[in-house]
Amino acid sequence: MLKDITLGQYFPMDSVVHRMDARFKIIITLLFLVMLFWGQHVPTLLFGFAFVLLATVCSKIPPKMIVKSIKPIVPILIFTGLLNLFLLEGGEIYWQWKFLRISEQGIQTSVFMVVRICLLIAGTSLLTYTTSPIVLTDAIEALLSPLKKLKLPVHELAMMMTIALRFIPTLIEETDKIMSAQKARGADMESGGLVKRAKALVPILIPLFVSAFRRAEELALAMECRCYHGGEGRTRLRQLKSGLRDYIALAIMLAMLAAVIVINALMK
């Protein structure tokens, strides 16, 4: 049951998007978000939709997976949609009851918001679907490296992130095992009130913490045995390399962003 949780949700495939430089993918995703929120008009959504479509096709990710990524936020979508729909005023008013009303502006904004959030989630999921968590942290480290000048421990932070990601599946497996072991001794986790359920977690959390600390200690020791001494002068197994496809992708993104800015200015 715990095994079914997908974390990092990397979807391994051999595609153009998977092979892209992760640094570029992060920058492009950030620009994509900027574009979505900068644009105030319908063409923005069309651009966004076209971009997600293109990226999905190029990445060979099944469209089902994209839909799946949007599913968890459906309640938020409904909430934002209804809020905008009933509370905004402006333009022609079609229906009114006390402080609730449906106006032209309301319909427009609520549709716009919902589509915008969907695109936002789809776009960012594409990043995590096509980039393994380890590569992603590498890229974040590379992008943040200018901050080293400000004495920010960028490498250490990235290493911590990598280790945390690496140990999530291990700890999930461990939790599963401990849960089974305590269930075999009659631990009851499925019934009872809130207090009883919280108490039932103790036999799981304590062994889990103990084992997490034990693992941390072992890992620290193993790293020291292999002379780990931080980021200074450290070379990499996986080099981040940028190529023509990365620049083309970035150019497409920048062109769309520019177009959105121009449209904004023209339609004012």
Partner: protein, 288 residues
């Protein structure tokens, strides 16, 4: 009627994903009350999965598990009660210790059964003694114990539920020979004293051969044989092919047979082997 029965039992992990794997493949099994069974198989042969289905922790993909003739997954069946009757000690059980004292940790199972104070106290003290933990250790924190003591405290935690069937998944993994011997002989004594059914999972023939009355051999999710150790070890070649090593003494005797000595092929304890050899030497058998 067998105490525990598996019919057509199957378990498949991650159905429908690329990682789909059948760990237990249509297994039929009948375990009679009071037996001491050794379960052996190479890594990934489905031992642990099978054991977790026998006490209702995993729901079979197909097939049924019958405890004293009753389907444990039947509608309205109380799976928690099943787990009290079929006690399962996991691999590295010391990682499940969590209470402040050893006493309270052993009492966790009996307490979950809803037993009274005096009954719990009796069970804790009895099982602690059975696994060789002294009274003084009962008030200590589990983390103050040595590795072998922790292991035995965790085993006591399951024994204290006084299950009709006790399953132990590799109880000796990672222990030194002395610790292994201690746990195995304590298990044998426990089995003799209580008469309960014991299933001992291991991949070491050497360990189990001496103690068990029957051997269940698993390979690639299927039962290869389920018989007395003598009969199972007689077919040594097949076991070796499956990546399971025979006990040393059995290998010696198989080697002697191959060199033309007229001796049985089912020797699996040093004691029996020594007797046979002495007899042969006295009688001046062939080649002596």
């Amino acid at each position: 009627m067998p105490i525990l029965e598996a019919k057509n039992l199957t378990y498949t992990y991650s159905i429908g994903s690329p990682f789909e794997k059948t760990a237990v493949d249509h297994i039929d099994l009948q375990i009679e009350a009071g037996e001491f069974i050794g379960v052996i198989g190479h890594t990934g042969s489905g031992k642990s999965t099978l054991m977790q289905m026998l006490n209702g922790l995993l729901k079979p993909t197909d097939g049924t598990v019958l405890l004293e003739g009753k389907d444990i997954w039947a509608k309205g069946a109380d799976r928690r009660a099943v787990r009290f009757q079929v006690g399962l000690v996991f691999q590295y059980p010391e990682y499940q210790l969590f209470e402040e004292t050893v006493y309270r940790d052993i009492a966790f199972g009996p307490k979950n059964m809803g037993l009274g104070e005096t009954e719990i106290d009796r069970r804790v003290r009895e099982t602690a003694e059975a696994v060789g933990l002294s009274e003084a250790l009962l008030d200590k924190a589990p983390y103050a114990l040595s590795g072998g003591q922790k292991r035995r405290a965790a085993i006591a935690g399951v024994m204290a539920m006084e299950p009709k069937v006790l399953i132990l998944d590799e109880p000796c993994a990672g222990l030194d020979p002395k610790g292994r011997m201690k746990i195995l002989s304590q298990l044998r004594d426990y089995h003799r004293r209580t008469g309960c059914t014991v299933l001992l999972v291991s991949h070491s023939m050497e360990d189990v051969a001496k103690y068990v009355s029957k051997l269940l051999v698993l390979s690639h999710a299927k039962v290869v044989s389920f018989d007395t150790p003598a009969k199972v070890f007689a077919d040594g070649e097949r076991l070796t092919e499956m990546g399971l090593a025979l006990p040393q003494i059995t290998r010696v005797f198989h080697g002697l047979r191959a060199r033309g000595f007229d001796i049985p092929d089912e020797v699996y304890t040093v004691k029996y082997g020594a007797e046979l050899l002495l007899q042969m030497l006295k009688g001046g058998g062939p080649g002596c």
